[in-house]
Amino acid sequence: MKEILQQVIDTRPDGVHVEARFHQRKKIEVRADKGKLQRAIVDDFAGIGIRVLYSGAWGFASTSKIDKASIFETFNDAFAAAKNLAPSMKEKIELAPIKPISGTFKSLGKDPLANHSIEERVKLVTDIDKKVLNADEKIKGSLIFLREYHNHRIVMNSDGSNVEVFDSKPDIYVQAVAHEAGKIMPYMDARGMCGGWEIFKISPPDKMIKTAVNTAIKLLDAPLAKGGKHTVVMDPKVVGIISHEAIGHTVESDFVMSGSAAKGKIGKKVASEHVTMVDSGEQDYASGWLPVDDAGVEAKKTVIIEKGVMKSYLHSRFTAHHFGVEPTGSERAFEYNDEPLIRMRNTYLEPGDFKREELFENIKFGYYLVSPGGGQADSSAEFMFSMPETYEIKNGEIGSLVKNVTVTGNAFEVLQSVDAVANDWRLEMGNGHCGKWQPAKVDGGGGTTRAIALVSGSVGGK
């Protein structure tokens, strides 16, 4: 395979930049609900994606046919696309130079997934499902979902990068649905990482079952939160989602160039001095692990905000050239037939000096946001996230669970209000995908963080 890709690169016409990728993704999914196994599937998706830069224009083509003739035909299609686009390009694309990178990189975990059988997976999922349903008479529904990506990538480019990357990324979801007197309330606990079967030691299924069941039942009777601006203490998972969704996308330099809220903010104070935000592919146990991106650029640790001051965007080679900086190794393609886009990896706040318990002291009334649900954020940094697990804080103590909580606001305003970050740093946002035309596995987190945010609930704080 590498030889063929190298031939494509070596025989390219003059003035052509080539990135050639092979990506095989094997996916395993096992799902059970309400006491029954619903699916066990295996998918094998492999192919070649070739991106060509010619006369300032990108062309891309892909194929699932992995033979020499088809690969060369794919190069020709990509080249033709670039040639057709070139005359219409007002701003010619130029690329920042890179130091080529070579090598083999692996993150398959301490207990590789490949050592475990489909049978084992089926038993695990069905056992968890049964336990959820039997946990309490109020539990009438369940959903257990195990998904694994097993990736093998080869990335080569005409600058000389030549890498092979192996990783596996499992996700496990445990949902309990509680019913009582016509009310229905679900709660889902989930975990994702880069690695192997040790995910079930790090996140024991019995603990996930307990969290899902107990929270779903408590939510049946939980009152609404008091709507309004409140002091909030955010668990690392919540810190991760705010960092990723509400800030992270605004600093992806394609969005910056479109006019996101981060435009023109390099060197400016955008958050409190307690906030240092990083995007990095270094953590090999996290879902956003990335040693080399899909353009063949080494993925560097990027400090986005340092002690409140914006330092860097996330760059492709093109935007790095445009802004006169180095690329950050942030171009990622989900599968072989996707074109690389600027994406995040593991996005987090650096740990602070406080102990976690200190963050709750002196809060007369506020909310403890433990677990985020879905949400969205704008290029203006306006965001909205549901927080299915939220507790009142009263006089420094964590109180009762409240329901239907959504946190909204402008992410930069929230970060400016941060007055404490704890030292209990962890990444815990690895399940699921980030969406931006195509999915991406990412992770996020930080230390528990205290700030001010707009919380939805009953109007007027009733």
């Binding site: 609900d33 029954k36 196994l37 699916r39 066990a40 599937i41 295996v42 998918d43 094998d44 998706f45 991106r51 062309g59 891309f60 083509a61 892909s62 699932s64 046919k65 990509a78 033709a80 696309a81 057709n84 686009l85 219409s88 390009m89 007002k90 059988s117 489909i118 529904g141 959903l143 649905v177 229905i184 679900p186 609404l224 709507g227 394609d254 479109s258 006019g259 809220a261 037939n337 074109e339 649900g373 879905g374 969205q376 290029s379 203006s380 909205m384 996230f385 549901s386 299915p388 329901k403 239907n404 959504t406 909204t408 606001g409 035309w437 707009l454 939805s456 609930g457 009953s458 109007v459």
Partner: protein, 448 residues
């Protein structure tokens, strides 16, 4: 090679599998050709040509189902894929009611194929992208197209099963999708989008898409904050789609049977105001979302989901239908890489008798929803939605565009208190199509 020809490559594997002791087997084949021009940061970004093909194999043995898929039609790869599916079927527990659908007569849908798309090339997509950029700039230089996709799509699908189903079909589509915001100095308006997908490239109305997109973005630029209040909501088709997706999800038999739907045990019951009727028509002519058969080769059809407020029919595939000893409704969905799920095709929420003008006129205090950013709970119906580009209505007049306003409520309860449905409607076409009016609701909590 056409999918029709590929069915003949796959046919010998069907016999082989049956001889090896498989009870039932289904092959789902798919080929796609997609040419795309991308816009990014209000400039042309790239052009792509993607060809994809693959096969998904479902195998049943003693009621146990194994599934495997691969993106290749090479015989040795199909053989490996089949072996994996058979291995899985042997390992997993038997599931009651798991058997493939019988062959039924198919009614062919019409107008889902355009020869012009087949001849469409990447450079044609580039030309249209360029045209869109020029038109947006002429309307207003503050318009930023953060991202845009212009693509031509050809899809061929085929189903071959041991239940004598052997069928294939081709369809085409042309899609324009624009997302972005208006920017004026330091001011950044809320992100918004406009899109459409048609079968025939000549049916796309580029001017309408560009004008609607521009109007939404410019409207979002100047915003005001207000104090919390309780008032009416006039929900736009775009916002309706986000909220009514919950209702459609609740109507999927898979969710009902998993106790994850508020519609459980509610067939024949009144669950909404009598003004509300929702149908799904898989055979709708001239729609990209239509096809003659579903993911399992079962005939597409028209299905009344809610009729005058009464829940009439859940959406089924063959597995969920078998559990209830009823027929599939032809809603099996998914590509070759998944087992059949359930999805709608062409949803229509029937228009009403209220005009939008009347709705606005009768609203003393309320908000005209534009787009919402929400994660509604699909099981309980609770939602807290940030309204993007919501327009304040005071004493029957539209006033300012609002910033950072959140609406809170329970959508399933709102269904019963629908105050009015508009005569006007809008088609929102993507891989599923929606034809949706405006809806007027009372008593929504707004927080700002």
């Amino acid at each position: 090679m056409m999918v029709n020809d590929l069915l003949s490559i796959v046919d010998p594997f069907l016999d082989k599998a049956l001889k090896m002791g498989v009870d039932e087997i289904e092959f789902y084949l798919e080929k796609q050709k997609i040419n795309t021009a991308f816009i990014e940061s209000t400039k042309l970004k790239s052009a792509t040509a993607n060809n994809m093909e693959g096969i998904g194999i479902r195998v049943l043995k003693n009621g146990s189902m194994g599934f495997s898929s691969i993106n290749s039609f090479k015989k040795e790869k199909i053989k490996i894929c089949l072996q994996k599916a058979m291995t899985i079927a042997k390992l997993i527990p038997s599931q009651e009611n798991y058997f493939l659908p019988d062959k039924k007569q198919i009614i062919k849908t019409s107008n889902i194929y355009d020869e012009n798309i087949v001849n469409f090339k990447v450079e044609n997509c580039i030309d249209i992208a360029d045209e869109i950029l020029k038109k947006c700039y002429l309307i207003d230089s503050r318009i930023n197209i953060e991202s845009g996709i212009i693509c031509s799509i050809e899809i061929e699908t085929g189903v071959l099963s041991s239940k004598n189903i052997c069928i294939s079909e081709e369809k085409t589509g042309f899609m324009i999708e624009l997302g972005g915001m208006a920017v004026e100095g330091e001011k950044i308006g809320s992100w918004d989008e406009e899109y459409n997908t048609v079968v025939k490239v000549n049916d796309i109305d580029i001017d309408f898409i560009v004008e609607e997109f521009s109007r939404k973005l410019l409207q979002n630029l100047e915003t005001v904050k207000i104090k919390p209040f309780v008032g009416k909501a006039i929900i736009s088709p775009e916002a309706m789609r986000s909220l009514f997706s919950m209702v459609i999800d609740a109507a999927k038999a898979s969710n009902i049977q998993s106790n994850a739907s508020f519609l459980k045990d509610k067939i024949g019951e009144n669950i909404a105001n009598e003004k509300l009727t929702i149908i799904d028509d898989g055979l709708k002519s001239n729609s990209f979302a239509s096809s003659s058969f579903d993911r399992e080769g079962f005939p597409r059809q028209k299905c009344t989901i809610i009729e005058n407020g009464i829940f009439r029919n859940a959406l089924h595939n063959s597995y969920t239908a078998n559990k209830e000893n009823t027929d599939s409704t032809g809603h099996a969905s998914g590509d070759y890489r998944t087992i059949p799920e359930i999805s709608p095709t062409n949803i229509e929420i029937k228009s009403g008798t209220f005009s939008l003008e009347e709705m606005i006129a009768e609203t003393k205090a309320g908000v005209l929803f534009n787009r919402i950013s929400a994660s509604p709970d699909p099981i309980s119906g609770d939602f807290a939605a940030v309204l993007k580009g919501g327009r304040l209505i005071e004493n029957g007049e539209i006033k300012n565009t609002l910033r950072e306003i959140t609406a809170v409520g329970n959508f399933f309860e709102c269904l019963k208190t629908i105050r009015g449905i508009s005569k006007e409607n809008k088609s929102l076409n993507y891989y599923t199509s929606w034809k949706i009016p405006y809806i007027l609701l009372d008593d929504i909590n707004y927080i700002s």
